[in-house]
Symmetry: none
Subunit: 232 residues, 2 copies
C-alpha cells in the first residue's frame, strides 16, 4: 500500500476549500484545511505535512509571505500556489523546476492531483542530496558556515568549536526535532550518558547566546531531543 500523504490546504473561500479537501480526500490524500494564514502556521507546527497548497490571496496575509513562514517551520515542504492573478506568474514559472509549482484559478481538480504527485515524487528523489548552505538565518541571527561566525544584526558573537557545531546542526534543522542520538553521534561520535550531560551544558550556553532575539528558543522535548524554534 502506498504511503498516505498529508497535505495542508490554505484557502479562505469556503466552497472551494470544502470542494478541494473533499476531492483530495477521495484521492487518498490526508487533507488538513486551514482558512487563514494564522491557522495554517499553527497547523504546520503540529503536523508533519508532505505538501502545502496555498491560495496566494488570503484575508490576513500574502500567500508568499505565508510560504516563507511555513518554510521556517518545515524547510523541506514543497509548495503549490493557487493564484487568480496572472501578474505574479512570470515570477512563479521559474519554480516549476523545483519543489514549488502554481496553478491558476479556476482549479482543475485532475490537474491539481497531477501537480501534487509531480511535486511529491520530485521530493522523494532529491531527498538524498545534501544541502550546503553557506549561511543559516534564524530571526536576527546569522550563522556563517564558511568562517564559523555567528552574528546578531551584524554584531559578532564568539562561539567555541562545539558550540558552533551544535548550533549549526540545530540551525540546519530549525523547527524540527534533533534527537539526542542524532546530535550525540554527529558531534560527539558517541552516544553515552556523559556526553548527554555535556550536551546539556552546551544547550545552556547557546540559549544565552541566542537570548537577544525573543523569537528564538531552544526547546527540549523530554527524552527525545532538542529543537531550535523560530517563531514568526
Amino acid at each position: 500500500m502506498d504511503k498516505k500523504y498529508k497535505l495542508i490546504l490554505v484557502e479562505d473561500d469556503s466552497s472551494l476549500g470544502y470542494l478541494l479537501s473533499e476531492y483530495l480526500g477521495m484521492k487518498n490524500f490526508n487533507v488538513v484545511w486551514a482558512k487563514t494564514a494564522e491557522e495554517a502556521i499553527v497547523k504546520t507546527k503540529s503536523n508533519a505535512f508532505d505538501l502545502a497548497i496555498l491560495d496566494v490571496m488570503l484575508p490576513d496575509m500574502d500567500g508568499f509571505e505565508l510560504s516563507q513562514k511555513i518554510k521556517g517551520i518545515n524547510p523541506e515542504l514543497p509548495f503549490l500556489f493557487l493564484t487568480a492573478r496572472s501578474l505574479k506568474i512570470d515570477v512563479l514559472k521559474g519554480f516549476s523546476l523545483g519543489a514549488v509549482d502554481y496553478l491558476k484559478k479556476p482549479i482543475d481538480e485532475e490537474e491539481l492531483v497531477v501537480r501534487i504527485n509531480a511535486l511529491l515524487s520530485r521530493l522523494s528523489t532529491s531527498e538524498e542530496e545534501e544541502e550546503h548552505a553557506s549561511e543559516y538565518y534564524m530571526g536576527d541571527y546569522t550563522l556563517n558556515m564558511d568562517n564559523f561566525e555567528l552574528r546578531y544584526k551584524n554584531e559578532l558573537i564568539k562561539l567555541t568549536g562545539k558550540e558552533f557545531d551544535l548550533l549549526a546542526l540545530l540551525a540546519k534543522n530549525q523547527n524540527q526535532l534533533c534527537t539526542h542520538k542524532e546530535i550525540l553521534t554527529t558531534i560527539w561520535d558517541k552516544n553515552d550518558y556523559f556526553n548527554k550531560k555535556s550536551l546539556n551544558v552546551f544547550v545552556s550556553h547557546l540559549r544565552k547566546h541566542l537570548a537577544k532575539d525573543k523569537r528564538l528558543s531552544i526547546v527540549n522535548v523530554n527524552r527525545r531531543g532538542f529543537m531550535l524554534r523560530v517563531e514568526e
Copy 2:
C-alpha cells in the same frame, strides 16, 4: 562538478527576495540574502562572493552608493542591478570599471540566470589576472606580489620567504577563515604536528609586522585555523 558560485542578493522586499533566493538556490547558486545595505556591507566583508545582485532602491541607502562601498571591500565583484526605474545606460557607464549589468523589474528569473552567467563567464576569462593580483591591500599595509615586498605607508618591511607566503595566503582570504589544513598543505605541503608548531611561530612573526595598523589582526579560531581580520 561545477564550482558553486556564491552570490549576494540585496533586496528589501521579502517576497521578491525570498522567491529569488529560492530560485537561484535551485539553479545551484549559493545565495546569501541581505535585506539592508548595512547588512550587505557586513556580509561582503565576511564572504567571498562571486557576484552581487543589488536592488537600486533600498530603505537605508541608494543601490549605487552601496555598490561603491562594496567595491571598496571587494574590488573585483561584478554587479547586477535590479531597477524599477528605466535607467539610461549612461548612468551605468560610470560603473563600467568592472563587470556591471542591470535588469528591469518585474524580474524574469530565466533572464536573470542568463545575465548572471554572462557576468560570471566574463569574470572567469579574466580570472588569470585576478589570481595574479599584483598587490593586496590591508589597512595601511600593501603586499606586493611582484617584488615580494610588504610596505606600511611606503616604509619597507622585510619579510622572509615563509612569512611572505603565509601573509599572501591570509591577505588573499582576508576576513575569511583559512583552515590549518589549507595553510599547511599550501605552504608546508604536509599537515602534521610539527609544521603546525612552525605555523604558530610564523603567525607570531606576522603579528609583529602588522602591529602598526590597529585595524589589522590575525585571529585564531580554535582548532580550525587563522583569519586576517581587517576592521571597518
